[in-house]
Subunit: 507 residues, 2 copies
């Protein structure tokens, strides 16, 4: 008898959906080996075919958008508008990769023709492009049951790179994962690809993490989640006979700095927007502003007063699962005991995995008494640090790596040094805005310094693809033995760099 | 009293040059902190200034080319023409990075303008470019006392990226390192930069490796050397509070496959070329063909006979240091005991750290009896594996990751599957050539699968720069707060991607 588990509706705490069979090691290994055995079918596609496949997968997900949003709503209690939006984000980001792949740009073809006069010695004909790594393991995140889950950005970018994907379904939304899986398979088979190119592993056992990280056929790992699991994956990946890269996003505080000028201009407006950003998705965004730095002057006092008044009217949907809710409550209890801490609360949600929003206010001088204040706490909370403006740089220097950091600044204020410091910590710096909401676009970067990210890469935006390819150069190859993207005739008609010049013509 | 050590002339085994003072932890830490404290002076340069700096360093090295080659000759016993060539390669590769940096291309600027109609939600203004990591530790290699040493490719690419460098001088050529250091400092100061942007740490103590890898100011490591030290660096870097990337190249067998057709066409010519390639630099190239796969037919027999006859006339210069020579002799002794092994020898060199070239011939069926045969042995040796052509793919599949792999093929022979398999192992595949000699150019890739390389990056060619930068995106920043490369006015006049289109004009 195989074990089973059942999803829970966070709004009620009750079981929802069918019983899900827990995968064992044999099934997991078989799925990985099956993916490995057909990887060439995906790797050998030309840009048009691969783009068509991605678009077919996007179409299949879009076709099921109502069902997916409904299923996710029951398992996550996230609001329906958020979930219907998230289905479309999932679809749009897969199509964005299709658009990139169609141009052949992801192959980064660089051709340096033979040059007998090259110095210091004659140069042979060298032609480089990017090749897919092989089977990739993706770990679904709890907080974006579609856009960062089994067919989220990691999967989309890996498939776009030409890599089969084995995704660990998230046990908080297993039926959503299953429904997305079925849509992806529909997309694969509609284009004549074997369904083994994609699989999801269902289960609650922590052993699954080990099975995936240790499988010899797995060539890279994409992960969004806790530092605990991220660091475990890095350890396991490093202990393999052949270590593999782990692209882990492991949480972030995303500090927001409010200058005295900005606060004097619009303390009320900023306070409301700050609370909204902190409570978005019940505070379960990796880009949540977990720290806000506010001047200890009258304008700052006004900001705090407005946070208090506004938060007192706020209630948020329940958290994603029981573990998250319990850890949130424990953290709030622990933080509340910090010396000199003021606690501001919102409206309690007593249903299911509901919690009460809490925002803390503390003087910078007291932060050192409670290390927890500079750590991420998943859920509807944030820490407001009061400090004189001339201490902001010191605060920024005391912080660990972050995904994002934001500043609210009045025109004419000098924040050059603060911005410079924030670029040392974070991968995205926001001016007069909040870190929540991340566009999926070429210029995007959703990665930051350790411990926010394990590498200097991004999981959001087109550059995410390059995590799953590696360069191979062909030296002095005859035309008919070269990959098509490197042949003189340029059969794909793609842009290449030839002897340092961009060209989309034949050589 | 500080400790000292002295270089040895491999041709005599005798001390050469002045006594060198061994650095201690205090000096090393001070140099790292000094580099960190001035890093902004380099990071803040515009493309023109940084290119000028790199060219000034190249000029200073070129100005000392005779002195550098003479010094290196005394410490390495490598032939003078090789060393004068290597000085120029060092100069040329620094200038190649200057040419890249001058275009601003290394900043990879991508601008996506705000778009209220972007889906699924409005897009803010997003502008991304690449920022230097900070102080980089570089470990000089023994086998290229200039081109892979303290001002070799790792240093050149790190400085080009805008990172100060602390280089571990190689104790086998410390006076060369010192002379190069002085040239680099001349280049730095001639352009008004603080000399603290570059330092070399001298010494024979294994502790230096730990000091550099653990220093909190070090942000990345460039390494070319043994798997033992490379793996130690990866371990140390992973144990830090803030782990850092280690770009390690740790040796490679660079297999060369000779098809029956190629051998039937020109066994004699190929045999001589193969021996020349294996003995180049006394077999101390990371691209040395350490494995040659030869068909077990009459053409293969002819190849072996020619190897035997040609090698019997070959004598090579002494190895780079006593340790390398001793390890080589031990490996040869151990390998010679393998079952079914035939040993072909060249002319003994009894001077200093001289050794006798040895090439082994073994049947594929016997390779499994001696694991050592599929490992790298630094020095003038190679293993010829005899096998039927239909076993070549199996042999390739049994191999670990490699920097390069080569094939000699007769027109019309089908080697598609073999080539595909080699691209899974190696970062460079050579057709009808040998893996030694690596052009420094944009299309180059000098990296391969583990254990040849620790990451999917290259240490040779222009892409080496991207190991030492990370992306930062600026969201909704006002023009005057943006880095110059991202400002609307495009003050550097560089090529950027704006809303998906390449452009070198203002926005």
């Amino acid at each position: 008898m195989s074990k089973t588990f059942t999803a829970q509706n966070p709004a009620t705490g009750q079981a929802v959906g069918a019983e899900i069979a827990e995968w064992d090691l044999v099934q997991t290994s078989a799925a990985i080996k099956a993916a490995e055995s057909v990887k060439a079918k995906l790797a050998s596609t030309n840009p048009t075919q691969r783009a068509a496949l991605l678009n077919a997968i996007a179409d299949a997900i879009e076709a099921d958008k109502e069902k997916l949003a409904d299923t996710a709503h029951l398992e996550t209690a996230l609001p329906m508008p958020r979930l219907t939006g998230e289905v479309m984000r999932t679809v749009i980001q897969i199509r964005a990769f299709a658009n990139l792949v169609k141009t052949g740009g992801h192959l980064l073809p660089i051709i340096d023709l033979a040059d007998p006069n090259f110095l210091p010695v004659a140069r042979p004909d060298l032609r480089k492009s990017q090749q897919p790594l092989g089977v990739v393991a993706v770990f679904a995140a709890s907080n974006f049951p579609l856009a960062f889950s089994v067919a989220g950005v990691d999967t989309a970018s890996a498939l776009a790179a030409g890599c089969p994907v084995i995704a660990k379904a998230h046990p908080s939304h297993p039926n959503t994962c299953q429904a997305v899986y079925e849509a992806v398979v529909k997309g694969l088979t509609s284009q004549g690809f074997p369904k083994e190119l994609f699989a999801i592993v269902q289960g609650v056992s922590p052993e699954i993490t080990h099975w995936l990280a240790k499988a010899p056929e797995i060539t890279a790992i994409g992960f969004t989640g806790s530092g605990l699991v991220g660091k475990l994956l890095i350890k396991l990946a490093g202990e393999r006979d052949i270590p593999i890269p782990v692209y882990a996003e492991m949480g972030s505080l995303n500090p927001v700095f409010f200058t005295p000028g900005a606060l004097s201009e619009k303390a009320d407006e900023l306070a409301k927007a700050a609370v909204d950003s902190a409570l978005l998705g019940s505070g379960q965004f990796c880009t949540k502003p977990g720290i806000m730095v506010v001047s200890n002057d009258a304008a700052g006092d006004k900001f705090i007063a407005q946070v208090q008044s506004y938060l007192s009217q706020q209630k948020v949907p329940p958290l994603l699962n029981k573990g998250i809710a319990n850890r949130f409550k424990e953290a709030i209890t622990s933080l509340s005991k910090s010396k000199g801490l003021k606690v501001i609360t919102g409206i309690a949600n007593d249903d299911g995995f509901g919690v009460t929003p809490n925002i803390f206010v503390v003087d910078w001088a007291d932060v050192k008494n409670h290390d927890d204040l500079l750590e991420e706490h998943f859920g509807p909370t944030s820490v407001i640090i009061r400090a004189p403006f001339d201490q902001y740089l010191t605060i920024a220097k005391a912080m660990a790596g972050q995904l994002g950091a934001a500043l609210h600044v009045q025109a004419g204020e000098n924040v050059k040094e603060l911005v410079n410091q924030l670029t040392q910590l974070a991968g995205r710096i926001i001016w007069n805005g909040f870190p929540t909401a991340v566009s999926v676009t070429a210029a995007q970067n959703h990665g930051g310094q350790w411990p926010a990210s394990s590498t200097h890469t991004t999981s959001v935006g087109l550059d995410a693809l390059y995590r799953f390819v590696r360069p191979v150069v062909y030296q002095n190859f005859p035309e008919n033995q070269l990959p098509a993207e490197l042949q003189n005739s340029n059969p794909y008609g793609i842009e290449r760099i030839v002897n340092g010049q961009r060209s989309n013509t034949a050589i």
